[in-house]
């Protein structure tokens, strides 16, 4: 219990403190320490939940079970490694004059604010607070997207704000509808918006209202997941902001939005007597997966390219949760972890690569391996991992997903395989010259801390070769939460 409160209060306190001292020259180090503390408490929280089962705080505001606690842990871990990367990166940006003291204050404060809103969204028991926190995550990051104040970044920020705002409004309408359905069970009680209460009564809820609610919720939170055709803001926001922000946006925020959709699916599907939520998720997922793979080919900005790759992977996960069943769900949960780790590692290397070349244009980044082998090789390895090659973890989870698809809907394997091949071709036609090409004259290595990248890739490799028993059991518990039946 204490671990949970600490996990939430540490970033909250840090957010307020950084609003005042964020431009201090050791603020980056302090940020790192704060993230480390959050990581430790969330680890403690995970151990608590793992040994004692789920937990509800007094007042029922927070509810932690196997499903959300592992996401909380991934959140804290990626937050920590990103803060390790962010310290020298932002110091360099400050040195070359792209940001000033005031913006550093904003940056550090909102870095913590963003982590806080995501942790609240993951841990809350109240579906209304879930909405407030997801909207809060948008508000925390919107000024960071436009941090550099270039016309492009302002456009990206505005688009992000407006599109996500409109999208998330649909989700609030969906939440109101769920509350409306729930009120029929026990009128006048405020507890009826609590997940733990609703889950117990899901069979008494009015199906027609819930069906309508799910459509609004999927469109709303789907905007934040970046599902095609609601994805327009995502490549812009991910590419124009500072790179540490791209790493946590791509690695974490998308997961949180997907988590919200899956929670609602768990609630709504048993109450309906059809599989509409599943089919909708499969459709949106498949569409995102295919379209993003094609759009990958046409990108000229390195960060934009990898944000399309994020859309592709989020589409795949949405599809997998849509298929349902223990195998697909287990695979999707695993994919959430490995995608977070790999994608944030890639964005970190991309940040270094952009500093080496002095630009984000794919056509001008050349010869990374010659200039700085560490960056070049990790960049290549990261791309290999995200493309789904063995022995990395992404391969394992995709393999599980494909197996599940063959079991339930064999004919869908073809488009999935084609999509994977298209995305692979798209990634490598751009990455190959960046890594192996001839470096331009006078390109110099930069100071880079490779620790976070190597750590992430190592974890992904480990998960690909053997999933530790403890994690497998844990994911299995989460699978039982989601679909009612375990894999192991």
């Amino acid at each position: 219990m204490i671990a949970l409160y600490a996990t939430l209060l540490i970033p909250f306190g840090a957010m307020l403190v950084f609003a005042v001292i964020g431009h201090w020259k050791h603020a980056g180090t302090l940020n790192l320490l704060v993230c480390f503390a959050t990581f430790l408490t969330s680890l403690q929280l995970a151990i608590d939940v793992f040994t004692n089962g789920f937990m509800i705080t007094p007042g029922q505001l927070f509810y932690i079970d196997a499903f959300n606690v592992y996401l909380i842990l991934v959140n804290a871990l990626v937050g920590l490694t990103t803060s390790i990367f962010s310290r020298p990166y932002m110091a360099y940006e400050l040195k070359i004059g792209r940001v000033d003291g005031g913006r550093m204050r904003l940056y550090h404060s909102m870095f913590q604010g963003f982590l806080l809103t995501m942790l609240v969204a993951l841990s809350t028991n109240n579906l209304g607070i879930l909405w407030v926190a997801v909207e809060g995550a948008t508000l925390a990051t919107v000024l960071l997207v436009s941090l550099y104040r270039t016309p492009e970044s302002i456009e990206a920020g505005w688009k992000y704000f407006i599109l996500c705002g409109v999208g998330i409004a649909q989700a609030l309408f969906g939440t109101v509808l769920v509350y409306f359905a729930a009120e029929k069970i026990s009128p006048g009680e405020e507890s009826t918006l609590l997940w733990s209460v609703l889950k117990d009564h899901s069979d008494q809820l009015e199906p027609t209202v819930l069906m309508l609610a799910f459509v609004f919720l999927l469109v709303g939170y789907g905007t934040k997941i970046g599902l095609v055709p609601l994805h327009n803001w995502l490549p812009d926001a991910h590419s124009e902001g500072p790179t540490p922000m791209s790493a946590i946006l791509s690695g974490l925020l998308l997961n949180v939005a997907l988590y919200a959709v899956v929670r609602y699916k768990m609630l709504i599907e048993p109450a309906l007597n059809n599989h509409l939520p599943s089919y909708m998720m499969m459709g949106f997922g498949m569409l995102s997966f295919s379209v993003a793979g094609i759009l990958l080919h046409h990108q000229r900005d390195i960060k934009r390219m990898f944000s399309y790759s994020s859309i592709e992977h989020m589409g795949l996960m949405t599809f997998a949760f849509g298929i349902g069943g223990p195998l697909a769900t287990f695979g999707a949960l695993l994919h959430m972890i490995v995608h977070s780790l790999t994608k944030s590692a890639i964005f970190i290397t991309v940040g270094h690569a952009a500093h080496i070349a002095g630009t984000q244009k794919i056509s001008e980044i050349r010869g990374l391996i010659r200039t700085q082998p560490a960056v070049g090789w990790t960049f290549l390895l990261g791309t290999v991992a995200i493309a789904g090659f063995p022995p990395f973890g992404v391969f394992t989870s995709e393999f599980l997903l494909f197996t599940a698809t063959i079991e339930s809907m064999p004919w869908l394997v073809m488009p999935l395989l084609i999509g994977l091949a298209v995305a692979f071709a798209g990634l490598f036609r751009h990455v190959q010259p960046m890594v192996f090409g001839e470096p331009p004259e006078g390109q110099l290595p930069v100071k880079a801390n490779m620790l976070p990248i190597i750590f992430h890739l190592f974890l992904v490799l480990w998960l690909g070769i053997s999933i530790p028993d403890i994690l497998a059991n844990w994911l299995d518990q989460a699978t039982i939460m989601v679909v009612g039946k375990g894999l192991l």
Binding site: I129, E155, V176, V209
Partner: protein
């Protein structure tokens, strides 16, 4: 059951919701920025009145708190902030040519029909007054969205955004007598922060592209050309 058999309170609520819908249409067609903000403020005021009436008729007095927050945020704070920004950015006299006003009105009408159609399964659950109000609140949300699509000025888009929020709030009040208090507070806080951020963005856009016309925000493309 006909409308005449409804209690006076319910009839009043229905009238108010019709007026809220009317203000949504006014917002859609209004081309002068200052009038736009005033219309938005009046929509907020109608919302405040509606919330008070529902609080009185249902006996759920915590709704008065929500009504108070609406009054403070939607009638005073946000319009005040927008007016101040308009003054400081010196765009008070700006008139926006709303493209194809008749088409937009027809589209708006179609959206209202659509919301009644969508609300069909819900309204069978509930009594006559709620039936209409849910459909109308959905229509207000969709009209706000339509406004954001058709408008080119950043200020008008923000008004559209806030009017969507009005629709959402109205939906929560009429269908479930408001959300739980902690959620209401959270939502109000989000709206407050959003309003302030919009203000900051106006200055950024103005400094970045030299105008508040979002048509000029056209540098990023899905596929690079």
């Amino acid at each position: 059951m006909s409308y005449a058999q409804l209690s006076l309170m319910e009839q009043l609520i229905l009238t108010l919701s019709a007026m809220i819908l009317l203000t949504s249409f006014l917002l859609l067609a209004q081309s002068r920025i200052i009038s736009l903000i005033n219309t938005f403020a009046s929509q907020g005021f109608l919302l405040f009145l509606g919330t008070c009436l529902i609080a009185q008729s249902s006996g759920r007095y915590h709704l008065y708190i929500s009504a108070g927050m609406t009054l403070a945020l939607k009638v005073f704070f946000v319009p005040w902030l927008l007016r101040r920004l308009v003054r400081r950015l010196d765009i008070r006299r700006d008139v926006e040519n709303v493209g194809g006003p008749s088409m937009i009105m027809i589209a708006g009408g179609a959206l209202v029909l659509f919301s009644y159609y969508v609300a069909l399964p819900i309204r069978e659950l509930s009594d006559l007054a709620t039936r209409n109000t849910i459909a109308i609140s959905l229509a207000v949300i969709l009209l706000g969205m339509l406004m954001m699509i058709t408008r080119r000025k950043a200020v008008a888009q923000v008004v559209g955004f806030m009017s969507m929020e009005n629709g959402l709030f109205f939906a929560a009040v009429v269908s479930t007598y408001g959300m739980p208090m902690v959620v209401e507070l959270g939502i109000a806080f989000d709206v407050l922060v959003a309003a302030v951020l919009f203000g900051i963005f106006f200055f950024q856009i103005r400094a970045g592209i030299g105008s508040l016309d979002v048509d000029h925000l056209n540098r990023l493309h899905e596929v690079d050309r």
